[in-house]
């Protein structure tokens, strides 16, 4: 369990069903789907991955283990892309 924090300089643009995260530092842009965008929206520097997974369980009625696994996987990917501190 971690408490992810967004890096500064990342802008968010919703385009249709997709979301574009633009890193002003690296000049890279990343297209994410609705699920990943939902998780991104809840990364606020105070919510842990378990907290976000619990919200996922409440909103979408998914099993807790699956929710935690998915949130960790998505935040790991955000970290790999340099979008998190």
């Amino acid at each position: 369990m971690t408490t992810p924090t967004r890096r500064e300089g990342i802008t968010v643009q919703r385009i249709g069903d997709e979301t574009v995260l633009h890193d002003g530092g690296s000049k890279l842009a990343h297209v994410v789907n609705q699920s990943a965008a939902w998780i991104w929206d809840r990364i606020d520097g105070t919510s842990s991955t378990d907290d976000i997974a619990d919200q996922l369980v409440r909103e979408f009625d998914v099993p807790t283990e699956i929710a935690r696994r998915d949130v960790v996987a998505v935040t790991d990917e955000f970290r790999r892309l340099g979008l998190l501190d």
Binding site: I15, V20, A29, V32
Partner: protein
């Protein structure tokens, strides 16, 4: 127009040649030290020639071998001026059918011009083979009627263009061999049309037996369009914010092309199945 004048020491200044162009309301006066430079640019941009240079931006290049540099500067000036007016010049071909524009984007050499010409041979209106001028505020794609730039190999692939390949080849940069007016090949020209579809051409890596169209989301389509939009290199976020709404309202797909006329026929089916807004 050319000019030459004596200097105070009696020597005669080298003559300069000039031409004024009005491209989508952007006025540019080119001055060159070589007549051949202006002649070469006229082959592509002659349709935009004006007699009056009032309010024109000036581009001066006196080197005799600078024709292609001069052409690049002309296009860059036009694109920058259009951006200041809120228009985005996307490196893409554009055609129109049943009142809606279809933008064909992709890297150089992916086959945008060939596909645009093939669609025109099937009755689409041709808006441009190089720049899709998008007005995000209205959602309209404007025509850009510079002469078509045709590479060797294309005339043999598109119905009605065969005789173009028999002409003397020119060096217009980027492997372009011919600048062809739309009227010369009987292609219908279109006016501004609302955006109705976006196709991203993938570079050809193998000969496909038939074309492949794969739906993509509008976020990915917007990024691919901005890849070929000079204004996005200046202000990416601003460009994405500007074009996002009209892209999100448009059906988008990746295209792996096969033989041009077969690919065009597949696109006609795809585009006609796209619902109107």
């Amino acid at each position: 127009m050319s000019s030459a004048s004596p200097r105070a020491d009696g020597a005669v200044e080298r003559p300069t040649h000039e031409a004024v162009y009005d491209v989508l309301g952007v006025r540019v006066r080119l001055v060159s030290g070589a007549r051949t430079s202006i002649d070469l640019i006229d082959e592509s941009f002659g349709v935009f020639r004006m007699a009056d240079n009032e309010g024109a931006e000036q581009i001066i290049e006196l080197r005799a071998d600078a024709a292609l540099d001069l052409m690049d500067q002309l296009v860059h000036t036009v694109i920058s001026s259009l951006h200041r007016r809120g228009l985005y010049a996307i490196h893409a071909a554009s055609v129109a059918h049943r009142g809606r524009a279809l933008v064909l984007a992709g890297p150089s050499g992916a086959g945008k011009t060939t596909l645009a010409l093939a669609l025109a041979a099937l009755g689409f209106e041709l808006l441009s083979d190089e720049l899709a001028v998008l007005d995000p505020a209205s959602g309209l794609v404007h025509p850009y009627r510079r002469r078509l730039h045709v590479r060797p190999g294309t005339p043999e692939l598109v119905r009605g263009l065969e005789r173009i390949g028999l002409r003397e080849r020119r060096d217009l940069g980027g492997d372009i061999a011919w600048a062809v007016a739309q009227e010369e090949v009987g292609l219908p020209a279109g006016g501004p049309r609302p955006l109705g579809g976006i196709i991203i051409l993938l570079p050809r890596t193998e000969a496909l037996p038939e074309p492949r169209l794969t739906a993509i989301g509008s976020g990915r389509a917007a990024l691919e369009l901005l890849r070929g939009t000079p204004a996005a290199s200046v202000d990416f976020s601003g460009a994405l914010r500007a074009i996002g709404p009209c892209v999100s309202a448009t059906r988008c797909a990746l295209l792996e092309a096969s033989e041009p006329m077969a690919t065009a026929a597949a696109l006609v089916t795809w585009f006609e199945a796209t619902p109107d807004d």
